[in-house]
């Protein structure tokens, strides 16, 4: 474990050396995601200016939901972005074989090889949103709340990574795993808003099947003192189970990997 942490540090340092070669690109990349976020947020702001609440949720409360989701997403974006391109940039080219002959875990190697700086912008946006909305809503920053937010964000990030890992594993069979990953990944957009605006079926899917609700709606509900029962504490459990399943799926895929011959 310690060895892998140490190794990750080395990978990260190499990656930053590359990124710093093109400083301007680094800055533009890291800040560009902010613009796309801004368009969506501005739209919510405009709409919420016209109505008092969205089914009982104020503008600041929605920002909290949105901010938590953005933070969780940024964890995935920074540390596991390579899962998106495993099909065409590793398996198709045969570059994946390189991972298999090295004395470290191939999944670790894949993830560590590319820290994605574009996620930094998302992380900052999420942090600002959570800080701003919690101040406006008068949520006290007690050690417990702080701990809760950190755990919730890490769990949310774990849920994102696990779902992407499951869909990315399909690359061992079909090469082009991006469409499948994209479809499942995009359902996280539902979790930008309180799940209560959707019908029962969608709520169940986002809680138990593609559990992005645990990255935003449930932790936000807890912080706002809304009664959601034990689900307030389920995020780490859901993330752990999902990560375990995804790792199993990955191992299964790895056993069926036979290379493309290129």
């Amino acid at each position: 474990m310690l060895r892998y942490l140490n190794l990750y540090g080395w990978f990260l340092m190499q990656r930053f050396k590359i990124l710093m070669e093109y400083r301007m690109n680094f800055l533009i990349g890291a800040s560009s995601t902010v613009f796309i976020q801004a368009a969506g947020l501005l739209a919510i702001w405009v709409v919420m200016g016209q109505i008092p609440t969205l089914q009982g949720w104020s503008f600041d409360e929605i920002l909290l939901v949105y901010g938590l989701l953005t933070l969780a997403k940024s964890i995935n974006h920074m540390f596991a972005d390579n899962l998106w391109t495993i099909g065409w940039s590793y398996i198709r080219s045969g570059g994946f074989d390189r991972f298999l002959v090295r004395p470290i875990d191939p999944l670790f190697h894949l993830l560590a090889e590319r820290f994605c700086h574009d996620g930094i912008g998302n992380f900052l946006v999420g942090a600002v949103l959570v800080a701003r909305s919690s101040t406006a809503l008068g949520i006290p920053w007690t050690p417990l709340n702080l701990f809760y937010v950190v755990v919730a964000v890490l769990s949310g990030g774990g849920i994102f990574i696990a779902l992407n890992l499951i869909t990315a594993t399909s690359a061992f069979w079909i090469m082009d795993s991006i469409p499948l990953t994209q479809i499942i990944f995009n359902t996280n957009d539902f979790a930008r808003f309180p799940l209560t605006i959707y019908n029962r079926g969608i709520q169940v899917v986002l809680t138990w099947l593609i559990p992005y609700g645990f990255a935003s709606f449930y932790p936000a509900s807890f912080l706002l003192g809304r009664d959601i029962g034990w689900l307030a504490w389920a995020s780490p459990l859901v993330a752990a189970i999902l990560l375990l399943i995804s790792f199993r799926v990955w191992l299964f895929g790895l056993r069926h990997y036979s290379g493309t011959g290129s």
């Binding site: 405009v46 469409p179 957009d189 930008r192 808003f193």
Partner: protein
Amino acid sequence: MMQALRRSSKMYGAIAAMVPKLYLAYSIWFWMEFVVQILSMTIFVYFWKAVYANSATIAGLDLRQTLNYILLAQILVPVVQNRTIFNFGFLVREGMVGIELLRPMDFQTRYYVESLAGLALSLVLKLPLLLIAWLVFGLTLPSAPAAWGAFALSLLLGQAILFYFDWIFACLAFYSTETWGLSVVREGMALFFSGAILPLNMMPAWLQGVANLLPFAQSLYVPVSFLSGITPVSDAPRAWLVQLVWLVGLVIASRVVFSVSVRKVTVQGG
């Protein structure tokens, strides 16, 4: 004269015919986009239903009108997506810009034809989505041919406006190699100010002012508001005139900017 016209229409026709072939090579991507768009339509519909839960009208629009607008805007959103800057970035990086400029056809017209054909194709490919919007989400379309006429002409004008605007924007690729970041900035602005996520008339006055200073609304909000009944057809001649002014101004500007900035190109080996 006639012969020259026939020859050039044949030439540009061949360029236009290439677009569907390129696209259809990637059918799995088509299905991905289809599913992703159904997801995002679903979110929009639930969101707006929740917004209208306690108010009958917002900015003079009722739920039905807003949903019609949003669904149509989602279907027509390809009109604000443009690849010119990627094309320029690619041409510079690969050192092909010189060859492209030497071809015996107008460089800009060639790309205009390609982008128009691309739009036509993506609208045809959106027909299944239109069907879903109609069957599942209750989209209602106007029966008056006049509304469709107003829509069609303003869409055509709007597409051209944005093409020439993007031409100017893409010239930045001759100065900076960071085309991806630039295009993301443009994408974010276009999504918001074109009215792709919400009808512009819901915005506060100052934001509407900004939107009117930018070309994006001309290509999406203006045409879609004819179809969704936000703008009455009697306003069409005025809207067309405004679009025409935009178009003429941008065509001239794009020619000037291109001829100045293309001298800056330093081909990177190729």
